[in-house]
Amino acid sequence: MGLLTSCIVTLMKRKNILIILFAATTIFPLAAQTDAQGNPLYKRSSIYSLMIKHTEQKMADEIHNEYVGIATPDKYNDHDLSVKVITLDSKLYKAKSDDENQAVTNFLEQNKVASRIVAKWFERDETDGSMYMDLIKERGLYNATEFDKELAARSSRSKALLEDAGEQLIGSTFVLVNDIRYIDKEKRAKVAGGILRALGAALGSVAGVDMSDTFDNIADLTESIRGFRVRINSFLYQLDWNESVAAEVYQHWGDKDYFENNRDKFHLKYVGKVESSGSTTNMQGINADLPSMIRKSLNRAIDENVANLQRNFEQFRCKTPIVSTAPITAYIGMKDGVGPESKYEVLETVEDEKGKISYKRVATIRPNKKLIWDNRYQALEEGAVGADLGCTTFEKTSGGQILPGMIIREIK
């Protein structure tokens, strides 16, 4: 038996000691929860992402400035820590290798990032060491009152709730280290400049003022940032959360000194890496200013890497709820790696009587090739095909009845 199931788990919470017991199981499907707008709610994995800034490269400051403004992908919880940018004045050694990168791992280990991720889950107070379950309740979509009641009652269900939180929430926390490099490729963009100049002249004639200078400046800017590209190596790590690690937290709940002295007991495990293609981003539909172009290139490259990481590493695949069943649709698209050949399993969420959640496959689906949503950054402004769909439509390839709120997950 594991630590959690073999011993009484003691939670010290504001001097209250909670003892958790266990019971037998029965499984039943779980009704989908929705937010105020009726959108299905579901448990998401969490990401802490940070960038390696190459100070020796031009555009380093501009890339840094735009990177910190990029939101966490919407299929994941934002688990960012306060450190978002680390610097390196040279290329990252062995950045192209798929093997675990020692420099990246060393940074994460030496800075005890795993312990900080755990501390964030329990909203640990640095001044007195106290910990809280509020974030777990929020992200786990647990009924807060029921959750507290079960814990206080030391019921068998409370143990299952903690196990569920551990498996589905805390254990699904990832660190994404993005090694971002600017690629200087000569590619003319004079056509766009010419158009701007022509429009400037036209505008001037309307407004009765000479606007040609303004437009010359815009045109010059367009040409100076011709061929803007970034290449990103994304290294993915996962929080190593198991029963013995969980016991470290729960058995020493709120013990300030113990946690500080034992941060080394928390670890990240290397999952893998991907490299963005470095292809030039289509700049149609955005302002011809440098921040907009950098933002678009960064967003596209990060989306590409997140999608490829999902494709390559099963544990990182996000789950998304079915929105409608006639036709079958979900708010997932090209940004999330949906392509003509993608396949997905439809999962029913089931909960045993102790509150433990698991997923049961009920069907498989594939996207309708003509109705794949292009939800990549600024696809709509670019006029990309499928950008206005709002969701991807799927077709059932096997299995039984599909209901709204069921979860889909990509399969190979």
Binding site: D80, E126, G208, Q284
Partner: protein, 562 residues
């Protein structure tokens, strides 16, 4: 492909289609037969003949059909809403209108904008609002930035440099059109939302603005006479009225029903405001050199001349005639019961009158300002207090000055001063309690919170002050500030509740409050308050853009939020 019954699993529509899309909510499905699209009902009857090259997905019950590269609109019931004649049909905007184009082409050299052809406007039911007869179609939209193609913003009209993905941006009450693509106002007709020309193109017009009240404000240039200035085009009489030469008179704004204010040059250094009527009369009667203001919410005007003040409505009808009062405040009509007009009589005393101008609160005050159904008033000793709509005292007259944030409601708290240069103190109106804490500056926030700068505190001697400064100024200066150096350029204070309890312990700038607010409210929901640890985290996250660390060094614990 065909269709089977979901329950019996029996075939109900035979497998004769290349593609069979799901049935929509009204019982019809798009099918593809031998490469052509049509629609069938649940019995398999063809309701739209399979003759289209494509039928798009339905949005708001409408799909675009394509046949021989021409497009039209199809309803979810299978009814063709338009002829299939358009080269482009945009998505319908939130106002239910879409632009259409016949004959244009996507120009890859112009960032995929549509060039050429004739432009028009369709309504969501397929009816033609503006026929496709125009080489250019412009919208009035000051806010609209022509992102993606022109890289600039025009203040008056939006050009039709549109891509397929663009929609119209306005409700389409008015458009401007020209026969050919011409950006000059002189060649543009003003049309209403149904395509009727309401102001024909005039070669003297250099600019014109969207009318709000039947009068189109135009800037004109008379090349022969070498003059330019403003004029209005009356959409009812179809006549222009001239405001005047730009050197002497200038339009100030749009008409509010019957009148519009204009600037008139008195001499080299003086400009006065008068009104012009729709008939072009410049009213000397309402010649207001002292004060002129209009209420955004009601359109009412307050004006004064020679110490006499008037309140009048959008038709220039006097509500309060001149001669009785030397000052009038705009009343708050949004309240369920009208609180009264706060006015100053010709002797300089303030009081409140009702809608019939009968005295509601006696004229014995040196100042009266509305706050919800209450008024804060200054008595003969020049001390402020609060009175209700009948003149009953809510808070005694005891303060030299008070600061209130009412938001149209009776205030719960206010800040008081006992003399001109004294500090501010919190007064809790419900508790009738004046708190002893003293503040050098106060700003009232929502939910009875306030941002305050204590008058005599040593704010900046702890690590949180260091963090506070670090997110607003360079680090080396932040260290000095944290060590106690006073800063007068960047005010830093605390957020407190209605009992002077600190909601945020760390000194923060007023601007930083927006970063603290979500976590404060989240904690409130959980029945908790922000801790110092929480504040530390928020401050670190505010400053994360500025903070970078060498990858090869171990980052100090204080730089991490957990």
């Amino acid at each position: 492909m065909g269709y089977i019954d979901a329950t019996s699993q029996k075939e109900v529509i035979p497998c004769i289609y290349n593609e069979a899309r799901p049935f929509n909510e009204v019982g019809f499905a798009v099918v593809n037969k031998k490469g052509k699209y049509g629609m069938v009902d649940k019995q398999g009857n063809e309701v739209v003949k399979s003759e289209f090259d494509e039928i798009s997905s339905f949005k708001k019950g409408i799909a675009v059909v394509t046949k021989s590269k021409k497009k039209g609109l199809l309803s979810e019931h299978g009814k063709l809403l338009t002829e299939v004649v358009y080269n482009f049909i945009s998505d319908f905007n939130v106002y239910g209108i879409a632009w259409v184009n016949i004959g244009g082409k996507v120009d890859a050299k112009a960032k995929n904008c549509i060039k050429g052809g004739k432009w028009g406007v369709l309504a969501q039911d397929g009816s033609i609002r503006v026929p496709c007869q125009n080489g250019a179609l412009f919208e009035f939209s000051k806010e609209l930035k022509s992102e993606g193609y022109s890289g600039c913003e025009h203040k008056n009209l939006n050009f039709n440099q549109r891509k397929e993905s663009d929609t119209l941006v306005t409700a389409g009450k008015y458009f401007a059109i020209s026969k050919k693509l011409d950006y000059r106002a002189a060649y543009q007709n003003l049309i209403d939302g149904n395509g009727n020309v309401v102001m024909p193109a005039d070669k003297e017009n250099a600019l014109f603005f969207e009318p709000k009240s039947g009068m189109v404000c135009c800037f004109y240039k008379d090349v022969k006479k070498k003059i330019s200035g403003y004029r209005y085009y009356n959409l009812d009489t179809k006549q222009y009225i001239t405001v005047g030469d730009l050197d002497g008179e200038c339009a100030y704004g749009d008409f509010t029903e019957q009148i519009a204010p204009i600037y008139v040059k008195v001499d080299k250094n003086t400009v006065k405001t008068i009104f012009i009527t729709k008939q072009g009369e410049k009213s000397e009667k309402y010649d207001y050199t002292n004060y002129l203001a209009t209420s955004d919410s009601t359109g009412q005007w307050i004006a004064s001349a020679s110490g006499k003040c008037s309140l009048f409505d959008t038709n220039k009808e006097l509500i309060i005639p001149e001669g009785r009062f030397s000052f009038i405040q705009f009343p708050d009509y949004s309240l369920p019961t009208f609180p009264g007009y706060a006015v100053r009589d010709m002797d300089g005393n303030w009081g409140v009158v009702d809608k019939q101008l009968n005295e509601q609160i006696p004229f014995k005050y040196k100042g009266v300002v509305g706050c919800g159904n209450w008024f804060y008033a200054k008595d003969k000793n020049k001390l402020w207090g609060i009175i209700d709509g009948n003149g009953n005292i809510v808070v005694d007259h005891q303060f030299y000055n008070i600061r209130i944030n009412t938001n149209g409601k009776e205030p719960k708290i206010m800040y008081t001063q006992t003399s001109e240069n004294s500090t501010y103190r919190l007064y809790n109106i419900a508790e009738k309690k004046l708190y002893t804490e003293e503040y050098a500056n106060v700003v009232t926030l929502d939910n009875n919170y306030s941002w305050v700068v204590p008058s005599n505190s040593e704010l900046f001697n702890d690590k949180y002050a260091y963090l506070t400064y670090k997110h607003i100024i360079p680090e080396e200066i932040a260290v000095k500030k944290a060590e106690g150096e006073k800063d007068t350029t960047i005010p830093v204070g605390f957020v407190i509740d209605n009992r002077c309890n600190h909601i945020v312990q760390s000194p923060i700038t007023l601007k930083s409050w927006i970063y603290f607010m979500p976590e404060v409210y989240r904690k409130e929901k959980l029945g908790k308050r922000l801790t110092l640890s929480d504040e530390h985290r928020i401050l670190l996250n505010i400053s994360k853009r500025q903070r970078v660390y060498p990858m090869n060094e171990i980052i100090k614990n204080v730089e991490w939020d957990f």
